[in-house]
């Protein structure tokens, strides 16, 4: 078990390094332009050159990357080129916003997908046909289009929820929840459409297995078969669905944050990338990759717990 965990962590680390290295080298831009940006339009050429040296932008890219990596291991993500604020503290203000959105969305996505998927698989009929249709529609419409529609509705017509903006969790929990309703809804519609459909498929696969039939002949009541046996077996593919959904979500929330003016990581990566604030971009990418890696590890662990065969492989 420990070996299993260690192996997963190791591969996660490798992934993190690969992704951050690739990103770093790709977004590396003209060092002089960056320095000039930081200093402002009235800087002289000497000041710019000095800044380039100060920020270490004149060194080879690979070397810069390793320096960044080394600092990272000491808990230092560098300092924003523009505000001189430590990237870690910038992230600290943004991460809770994005995490709120992602985690709440994930939670409800899984909850609703499982319920709907199981119901559609077990009962079939109109519920199943409806799900089929809704899933195609929901998965097709880009979530930010849905988001725009929601803003349209609530900004222009129904003043039920604040159309945009974010309130921190521990300042006013009720307002925090209200400010998340619309963004989560926008994410949820597409995500549930997708996941419910896939979970239904996974459930159907399981229900078609021989052992389900055999268990019925043992006299075990249907509800035990569904909730104890079928669900347990569908958990494995279900977890795969969950991890894929998380990856999709990390990308999806970027536009959602823009639409709803949530001051999260998504908005940060956009503006940081445009400005060339490399430390902030790297911090952002690092965060995203870590979330993906952590989710994958958790999924693998839970999968191992649920599915005994997976522990061996």
């Amino acid at each position: 078990m420990l070996q299993f965990l260690l192996r997963k962590i190791l591969s996660g680390l490798v992934l993190t390094i690969v992704v951050t290295a690739v990103t770093f080298m790709l977004i590396f831009n003209n060092g002089t332009a960056i320095a000039r940006q930081v200093l402002g339009q009235n800087a002289t050429a000497e000041q710019v050159a000095a800044k380039v040296q100060q920020l270490g932008l004149d060194q080879p890219v690979l070397l810069q990357y390793f320096k960044w990596l080394g600092n990272l291991l000491q808990g230092d993500l560098g300092v924003s080129y523009f505000t001189n604020e430590a990237v870690t503290s910038v992230l600290a203000t943004r991460i809770p916003v994005t995490l709120s959105l992602v985690l709440v969305s994930l939670f409800f996505t899984m909850l609703i997908s499982v319920i709907v998927g199981v119901a559609a698989a077990v009962r079939g009929g109109w519920l199943d046909s409806t799900l089929q249709f809704v899933s195609v529609a929901g998965a097709a419409i880009p979530n930010f289009v849905i988001a725009i529609g929601l803003v349209f509705m609530f900004a222009l017509t129904i003043p039920l929820f604040p159309a945009t903006g974010y309130v921190a969790f521990d300042y006013d929990t009720a307002a925090w929840a209200r400010s998340l309703v619309l963004p989560v809804l926008a994410v949820l519609i597409g995500a549930v459409a997708n996941s419910a459909q896939q979970f239904r498929g996974a459930m159907l696969d399981v229900l078609g297995q021989d052992y389900i039939r055999t268990l019925r002949t043992r006299g075990i009541p249907d509800r035990h078969i569904i909730f104890r046996h079928a669900l347990r077996n569908a958990a494995s593919p279900g977890l795969t669905i969950l991890s894929l959904q998380t990856i999709a979500l990390m990308g999806g929330v970027i536009v959602i944050e823009q639409v709803f003016a949530l001051p999260g990581m998504g908005v940060l990566i956009g503006s940081a990338a445009l400005q060339g604030d490399i430390p902030a971009v790297m911090g952002d990418v690092l965060f995203i990759v870590i979330v993906v890696v952590v989710v994958n590890i958790i999924v693998d662990l839970v999968n191992g717990w649920v599915n005994p065969k997976a522990r061996i492989s």
Binding site: G40, N42, E85, L103, A155, S271, Q275
Partner: protein
């Protein structure tokens, strides 16, 4: 029952795990003190929305324009103060005097004022602040770059400019006039922790960098009555829809609005503070025709003035909010020439013949930049200039370098909205050979002496000189201004504020509770 609990068990794990993560995420989320804003401003807290990112509290990095001035006005005093009508009055300096040729500004500081760290606000501190601004790498450094600062005694501050500089007092009202505690100028945390003598101090616990900046009253402030609110908080809301939402739901008391949202806000019962701050239109650079020969021809530039339907533009692009102009000076400026407004009527045929007369009937190629937030005018520019056979291509500029690229002179023709304050201010920032907004650094032997005189003339002579400069600009079509669009600032019913000459937002000291 025990069998079922197994499935519940796994679900419970998941739920607990998620909740744990959520809770921990929430636990490390800092406070957001926007309290008290609901239901209108009490005398207690004023919450203002800001429409741009704030660069931090290093005094050298502060800016003089835009909405962010409200933030630093909370924590620092300036040496002199700029009244809403543009008059310069004492502030930290209780008196000031310019010498005859506007090369020396002498200020006498108020006695007995202290910074919140207990040190005295004296001439030495003021000198240190200005020196810091000169070398601190901020965008306003150039304004004081050439000045020498002396503090002959504890309450006297002397600024000397090598050339006549009539704007020195104005500069002392803006970010260049900020006086911060000397220790804070070099402190390692100066971006996070400002130390000033201003009406409020930063409430770090309630501040989230990049999102909310909270201030509480400075109990020892020397001019308490000017600031009625106990607390002031600023929320960074870059998106207009977010600001409208925040205004409507009472999350903020006031916010910068836009022409497009003005009708909506008014309809929701909010007040609109209106101010004509900017002129909007085309910069016509390269007036000496160095890179684009056509632009060196007066008639070409005049044609580029006559091919735009200014009235139509105001109606369409600014929803009718604003007034037509062909001048870069606002309509309150002493340089303004109301009778010359219609010197370039909308006449496409005339424009075409002017082009032909100049020898450019076949037009020429032109690349204009496309900037976020300013690209709404590019379609009409492309189309109208196209009528003169000017083949326009757009180049998208983005990010922090966009403005820099424009200022470098790469794109001699571009659409912009630039603030207009006093005549001297506008001359210095857009016309002087080394002016920031004279992007192609053009000069004209007829114009230069007028510009030089402007620095020293006073009174009626200054006005006549300014008008002469304006006339030159109009006759020689150095620009193609279209409109003075109205800038909107919205406040809720319980809050009032006054517009300030040359500023898109009311200054902090103009806010009161109704």
């Amino acid at each position: 029952m025990t069998e079922l609990s197994r499935r519940n068990f796994s679900k419970t794990i998941l739920f607990t795990g998620l909740s744990a993560v959520m809770l921990s995420a929430a636990a490390c989320s800092p406070k957001d003190a926007s309290g008290g804003a609901n239901g209108g401003a009490s005398n207690k807290t004023l919450t203002l929305a800001v429409d741009a990112d704030y660069i931090g509290f290093d005094p050298a990095k502060q800016q003089s324009g835009g909405t962010v001035v409200q933030i630093w006005q909370a924590v620092w005093d300036t040496l002199l103060k700029y009244n809403p009508d543009g008059e310069i009055v004492p502030n930290l300096a209780e008196s000031f005097e310019m010498n005859d040729d506007n090369t020396v500004l002498t200020m006498k500081l108020r006695a007995g004022v202290k910074f919140t760290d207990g040190t005295a606000v004296d001439a030495a501190a003021a000198k240190a602040s200005i020196e810091h601004m000169k070398t601190g790498g901020g965008s306003d450094a150039s304004r004081v770059a050439k000045l020498t600062v002396e503090a002959p005694d504890a309450t006297t501050l002397v600024l000397t400019s090598p050339e006549p500089n009539g704007l020195m007092p104005t500069f002392m009202c803006l970010s260049t006039g900020i006086v911060a505690s000397t220790a804070s100028l070099t402190a390692a945390n100066r971006d996070q922790m400002p130390v000033g003598s201003g009406p409020y101090t930063l409430d770090a616990a309630a501040t989230t960098t990049g999102a909310t900046y909270s201030f509480v009253r400075n109990p020892n402030y020397w001019n308490k009555d000017a600031f009625p609110f106990e607390k002031v908080a600023f929320k960074i809301l870059l998106d207009i829809t977010a600001r409208v939402s925040a205004l409507k739901s009472g999350q903020v008391n006031a916010a910068p609005a836009t022409s497009q949202t003005s009708a909506e806000l008014k309809g929701s019962g909010l007040n609109l503070v209106e101010n004509k701050v900017n002129w909007a239109g085309l910069f016509l650079g390269d007036r000496n025709g160095k890179t684009i020969p056509a632009l060196g021809q007066v008639k070409v530039r005049q044609a580029m003035n006559m091919v735009f339907d200014r009235a139509g533009i105001i109606k369409a692009l600014f929803q009718g909010n604003g007034s037509v102009t062909n001048q870069i000076f606002n309509d309150k400026s002493e340089a303004f020439l109301p009778d010359a407004i219609n010197q370039y009527p909308f006449d496409v045929e005339k424009a075409k013949s002017l082009m032909a007369e100049a020898g450019f009937g076949d037009g020429f190629d032109l690349t204009i930049p496309s900037l976020n937030g300013l690209d709404y005018a590019n379609p009409i520019i492309t189309q109208q200039l196209g009528l003169l056979n000017i083949r326009v291509t757009e180049k998208k500029l983005s990010g922090g370098t966009a403005i820099l690229e424009i200022l470098s002179g790469k794109y001699p023709v571009f659409f912009f909205t630039l603030e207009s304050r006093t005549a001297l201010w506008d001359i210095v920032q857009a016309l002087a050979p080394d002016a920031v907004w004279n992007i192609t650094k053009d000069q004209d032997p007829a114009l230069t002496p007028l510009i030089n005189k402007a620095q020293t003339l006073k009174g009626a002579e200054a006005k006549a000189n300014a008008q002469a400069i304006n006339k030159f600009l109009i006759d020689n079509a150095w620009f193609s201004p279209w409109a003075l669009p109205t800038a909107f600032y919205a406040t809720d019913k319980a809050t009032a504020a006054s517009p300030v000459l040359g500023s898109v937002v009311p200054y902090l000291f103009t806010f009161t509770a109704k």
